[in-house]
């Protein structure tokens, strides 16, 4: 069950988040929707990320895979190269570099999909055109959605209004 509040100012949204956090609703229970990125002060609604780490890991893994692959392919059928090495790190370094970068790109993209939550849509989201019983996301407005049990509705709603929400609506968990 969700309770959603509509704000027109980022500062107000920030205040509401601080207040909710004090009531025990951590960032996991909060979703903020806006037509453009909203900059909140650090610490207000942080989303920890492992994207950089995973990019590095992806680079390392794919690079190693490439090394193994090239090493294997050049030796699986040993051609005579006239004294030149069959496998040479210098001569194939560019390939390993490119494959490392490819690994980083791949990892970044996958982590983007993962961390954005786009791959796990287990809940309804506010739509541009408001559906029944749902707040529409309009340009310039900010929606703050709180995941909470119905018994906390009153407290949360109060909190949102106190922070400056112009409207608060509750949404049934549809999916």
């Amino acid at each position: 069950m969700f309770l959603t509040g509509e704000f027109s100012q980022a500062e107000a949204t920030g205040r509401a988040i601080e207040a909710l956090k004090a009531k025990g609703f951590g960032p996991q229970a909060l979703d903020m929707f806006s037509t453009e990125p909203v900059e909140l002060p650090p610490g207000v609604l942080d989303r920890p990320s492992r994207m950089s780490l995973m990019a590095v890991a992806g680079a390392v893994v794919v690079c190693l895979l490439a090394v193994v692959f090239v090493y294997y392919t050049q030796r699986s059928y040993r051609l005579n190269t006239g004294g030149m090495p069959l496998f040479s790190l210098w001569a194939t370094g560019v390939i390993f570099y490119e494959m490392a970068v490819l690994g980083a790109i791949g990892a970044t993209f996958v982590m983007f999909l993962w961390e954005s939550g786009m791959l796990r849509k287990d809940h309804a989201a506010p739509r541009w055109k408001g559906a029944e019983g749902e707040l529409a996301l309009e340009p310039g407005r900010i929606l703050l959605r709180v995941r909470c049990e119905p018994e906390h509705f009153a407290a949360v709603g109060e909190c949102l209004y106190a922070a400056g929400a112009s409207r608060v609506e509750k949404v049934q968990n549809k999916s």
């Binding site: 190269t81 006239g82 004294g83 001569a91």
Partner: protein
């Protein structure tokens, strides 16, 4: 020990008669381009006689040398081929695998001797000229690189003969078409791994030089300079 084929060309004997060029055409099924294509620079001569004038008349001299694939030990053409169509065979030849070639022509660019030729078109012969074709040598399709092979078909034939007779290949027994034809006997072919072969002895003579030696490609064709 494996063979390591090499050639010595005595420029003191060579007089630029181009018998080798014709011999190569006959042996290796080289296509004849027509005048229009020849004018576009598509004539194919796996061996050619380069000639340079030195000085001014009347104190002018001509320098000429037959240039064929130098069968480099560290051939610049080999590492650049993306599909291993040009590779090094165990006897030291730079071999072109026509079937594998995709025609990037990178090897041709990287050959300092400009001895690689590209088949710009599917080669054609006017009947019945094709009756002359040597069945031991493949006709190269359009779109692939080709070059001097040191007459690898002749090498193989001699090796088979020697094997059948259970004897080693004798020095001078293998003769590429150009070597065979040379009236002045300016060209000598043989095994560089055999220190007593004629070509080895010539290669270590004081007159022996290699073309563009400073590039470090280690060619296996030795030019014996003209005497004074």
């Amino acid at each position: 020990m494996a063979h390591r084929w090499g050639m010595a060309i005595d420029l003191d004997r060579c007089m630029g008669c181009e018998a080798c060029v014709a011999a190569c055409h006959a042996e290796n099924n080289l296509p004849v381009s027509d005048p229009a294509q020849a004018a576009k620079g598509r004539a194919v001569h796996w061996i050619r006689v380069d000639r340079y004038y030195e000085g001014e008349f009347p104190e002018i001299r001509v320098k000429y040398m037959p240039v064929l694939c130098q069968q480099c030990d560290e051939a610049p053409c080999e590492p650049v081929c993306p599909v291993y169509a040009t590779y090094h065979n165990p006897e030291g030849l730079n071999v072109q695998v026509y079937n594998r070639c995709v025609g990037t022509r990178y090897c041709g660019n990287n050959c300092p001797y400009s001895v690689r030729f590209f088949n710009w078109f599917e080669p054609k012969w006017t009947a019945p000229l094709e009756l002359q074709h040597n069945p031991d040598v493949a006709i190269r399709p359009g779109g692939v690189m080709e070059k001097c092979t040191f007459c690898v078909q002749r090498i193989e034939r001699v090796k088979l003969d020697a094997k059948a007779e259970n004897r080693p290949v004798a020095d001078g027994e293998v003769q590429p078409a150009c070597v065979q034809s040379c009236p002045a006997e300016a060209m000598v072919f043989g095994d560089l791994n055999d220190p007593e072969s004629k070509v080895s002895r010539l290669a270590s003579s004081g007159r022996a030089t290699r073309l563009l030696e400073e590039l470090g490609a280690k060619p296996k064709v030795f030019y014996l300079q003209r005497g004074k």
